[in-house]
Subunit: 578 residues, 2 copies
């Protein structure tokens, strides 16, 4: 379990500070952002490779920043996507005029947040592109390759992209190479015991000590099948045989191979497995090129390992063998580059930091103040209920996900409350500030979706007196549409929409029937609650591989449940103050 | 727990094979030995630094072999000293004409086995010297510095010695520098949960999840005090404050600092702690030089970490900063050296392998054959009882030690049985062959002591007919003397001598009183058994720090218990066949 922390909510921040303190000869922190850049970046006219994702996977991601590898890393909270704002800030700071390649594992939250950041960078004229890593063969079938998750194969794809960018390739070429590297990379993992998040007592999952779970994901997503415990040789046989089946037709037989420890499965055990893996691969005619045995993409103290084959042709072999020098990985000799004067990018960071959404100097009247007070009351009540239910939300999230839903909601809500707490804001301003802060501080899928929801509602209700019931109905409906569009989901896909859409419909119906807003809201919240409970009958269809979908049947969707809880809490405030 | 293995008894062998397979660009295996050399070694007229100890501590020790670091590593079984034979073979293969420096952590088994190897190398004209690492400040007070254990400070001492040897210093200078590096290196560790040895279900020790054990050793030796669970900042404060107290007067304020993870305490947690450690050290005026945060000296999947301060002056700073390139650690740029043609040292290995203790071509008569048969029967009975009691012996060893006593005894006895199984041997020859095999295959303290005991008994009883009772009495007495001399222990020190000496005395008394050997032996075995049980009242005085001594009171000494079990088992065979 994770035992060493101060405030669990500050874990990632402390971690980044400590990482930069230890490795300031390699990296520096992007000002006002949760991310790092090479000490020598940006290098003019070089494509910048920016990687990232939730933390808890060290050396992925920040330990792989340095010459020959990544230019920067965006660092989310444990197992949680960094926010779009963070990805934007790091991408912006990394850009040296030749474009930015985002590369990260294929997870819903990362796709949304990095996607929004890419959109913003493009709007500013930066040629930003994305290559998702989809190497986990257990997470979807070969004909649904683009739905696969990214796990230890991250290392190979980032290495290819980083080496290509460092030798001066243009952005289109770096993108092509990274995409090819991903196509030629396949991983299968196995786990024996789950990790425990900072501040929690129970592991994300458990596996019978006489069993192994094949295909388990790096956040504890369940595996494809549970098998009896295997000897090291038997396990090597299963891993090699399964991964070899994915061999691309064009591959000439050379491969970089990673035997990756997930955290608590130690080097000695990995070497014992490696003896058998190397023999099996040799017997299959695979020529190993600079294999790596060790911890490359971990999952805190999870017990388990994974085998990655990264097939090589002349092009990819050259990139795999190219020198690199990062805190966690070195190969060959890398010319020493002087650190860039910090002033240069501090200026960028300062400029960004100096341009928050300004509350302006509006003097608002008493009705507007009262309306904003209701918004703040709602946010406070929502934060209270999520704090009470944090552990439950974590538990139902852990069934098919990474167990951080309650933590992420709470972090987002606290940031939202603080941001809304400016007396100069009206209701709409408070909601927009709350939404922006939520998306920025929470990260993950729920952060980006709740952030967009509040911002949309805020934009519709405006900054005048208490809005009319019909305006609130319209605001909620439009908020639901934004969430559906952003998440790429529909009702029935087992997401927060399964509570949000019935809530919006019921609210509209009751208001149309002539109910007062507080009454209509509370009735709609009860309907949302029932709808959230009913998601336990569903299986997810968006961004979830089949085994996960099966496993989550019987448990309600955490996003739907937390929406219903928040709707109910807000309803109580509306009843008192509205 | 350790889950990936084939036959637990083959774990280390498989591990070394896998390690060499993964890193053949760095190392090659010493022929017929459990150890590795740099791929480019030996380099003529360069001092060879040979490190080693039990495995389970990767990257210590074999992961630190390469230019700028060690020349070779001797690899024992998990948490078990390699045998004297192995240390000799690796030292011999490493020697390039300028001498060999052995450096390893201060543990009884390693001191005995490397000590014997050093003696043998010196007898062959190789200038072999030893520097023990004694950095663990929890294991003895500052005025008993030479009794302290070696833990993560190994890394700093080996680095200094390796860099000094690589820049061409003569053996006396390498020895002086390594000694100084050790004097200037201090470590304090903390643990939260024990590791589990391959093939075992229970961890070596457990710590309440609300507690931390300060000062715990890297094999699970108990700590100096149990404290309530601390936050990362509080723990950093305790570690820094305690280690700073040991600052040498001559230190100018510069220090290399290691924050070392023991296995299951992951990088993210270490960075969180590092943030506070770096701040505390800076506030104390310590100037950090290339600190390292990561896994440098582990304990399988033990949860915990340690803080090492390696104080620097100009001399040590230059060595610390010098380039190095090993499987697990790289710094700066190291000139590429072509691998030495394997033939060169294979010749050395082959020559060594071709000179085992030859059984000769003696044709032995029927009485001698019968005597040897008794010896083989005794060894078989001893192996049976130790196999039955392996788990119990491991449990009582785990109270103050590393829990491997049963495993080590069994491995030694099996090797002894196999070696004694040559029909051309008499009783003495069988005992001598058994002793040599036991010492070689078992490693650890028990291996070297039992090996010497059997060899001494074998030398006294000779290869004729069944020896007279008085001869056996004399043989056992002289065997006990050899064990006392080799182990540096006396009766009452809580070692196997506490059973062996009463056994030898009682055997002598009964035989003097006119008893038949089988009867006298069985009576003496019962006395040994009672004496072994009575060791639970004792606290160890040899090579054990005070907290360990206290902890083991109430538990009998595993060495004494296993001796008594073996004596009793042999007595039953003597009764039947003698």
């Amino acid at each position: 379990m994770t035992r060493l922390y101060n405030d669990p909510a500050r874990f990632s921040d402390d971690m980044v500070d400590g990482f930069v303190a230890a490795y300031d000869r390699y990296v520096r922190r992007v000002p006002n952002a949760s991310g790092v850049l090479r000490a020598s970046a940006p290098r003019p006219n070089k494509v910048s490779v920016v990687i990232g994702g939730g933390s808890g996977h060290y050396p992925a991601f920040c330990g792989l920043v340095g010459p020959g590898f990544a230019d920067g890393a965006v660092i989310g909270d444990i197992f949680t996507s960094p926010s779009a704002e963070q990805a934007y800030l790091v991408g912006k700071a990394a850009d040296a005029g030749a474009g930015v390649l985002f590369s990260y594992g294929n997870y819903g939250g990362d796709v949304m947040n990095f996607g929004l950041a890419q959109q913003r960078l493009r709007e500013e004229g930066i040629d930003c592109r994305t290559v998702l890593v989809t190497d986990d063969i257990a997470s979807a079938s070969a004909d649904s390759r683009q739905q696969r998750r990214g796990i230890a194969g991250d290392f190979c794809v980032f290495k290819a992209a980083g080496a290509a960018a460092d030798r001066g390739e243009p952005i289109a070429e770096v993108e092509r190479i990274a995409g090819k590297a991903n196509e030629w990379t396949h991983t299968l993992g196995v786990a024996f015991a789950g990790c425990t998040l900072p501040g929690r007592r129970e592991p994300l999952f458990t596996v019978d000590t006489e069993k192994m779970e094949l295909g388990l994901g790096i956040h504890g997503e369940p595996g494809v099948r549970t098998v009896e415990r295997l000897s090291a040789e038997e396990l090597a046989g299963v891993l090699v045989e399964t991964v070899l089946r994915e061999r691309p037709e064009a591959a000439d037989g050379r491969a970089a191979v990673l035997l990756n420890g997930l955290g608590a499965t130690k080097y000695e055990e990995l070497f014992v497995v490696w003896k058998a893996v190397a023999a099996e691969l040799a017997a299959s005619g695979v020529e190993l090129v600079s294999p790596e045995v060790g911890e490359l993409v971990t999952s805190l103290d999870m017990a388990g390992c994974s085998l990655t084959l990264h097939w090589l042709d002349d092009e990819l072999a050259g990139l795999w063998q190219a020198p690199a020098d990062t805190p966690a990985f070195r190969r060959g000799e890398v010319p020493h580059l002087a650190p860039t004067a910090t002033a240069a990018t501090t200026a960028v960071g300062d400029a960004l930091a100096a341009a928050p959404e300004s509350p302006g100097t509006t003097v608002i009247g008493e009705p507007a103040r009262r309306a904003a007070e209701v918004v703040r009351g709602c946010l406070a009540a929502m934060a209270d209920v999520v704090e009470r239910e944090e552990s439950y939300l974590g538990d139902i999230d852990a069934v098919a996900g990474d167990g951080d839903h309650g933590r992420g909601m709470l972090r987002g809500l606290r940031a939202a409350r603080a941001a809304a707490d400016d007396a100069a804001l009206g209701a709409g301003g408070a909601l927009r500030a709350a939404g922006a802060a939520w998306a920025d501080r929470s990260g993950g899928s729920s952060g980006v979706l709740w952030g967009a929801l509040l911002r949309e509602i805020g934009a519709v209700v405006g900054d005048g007196d208490l809005p009319a019931a019909a305006t609130v109905v319209d605001a909620v409906r439009r908020g639901a549409e934004v969430v559906a569009r952003l998440g790429g989901a529909a009702v029935g896909d087992k997401t927060m929409l399964d509570a949000l859409v019935p809530f919006a419909d019921a609210l509209a119906q009751r208001v149309a029937d002539g109910a007062e807003l507080p009454v209509a809201w509370r009735a709609a919240a009860e309907i949302a609650h029932a709808a959230a409970e009913a998601t336990s009958e569903l299986r997810p269809r968006v961004g979830r591989a089949r085994p996960l979908a099966q496993r989550s049947v019987g448990t309600p969707d955490p996003g739907a449940v937390s929406f219903a809880l928040c709707a109910r809490a807000a309803g109580e405030v509306l009843g008192v103050r509205g």
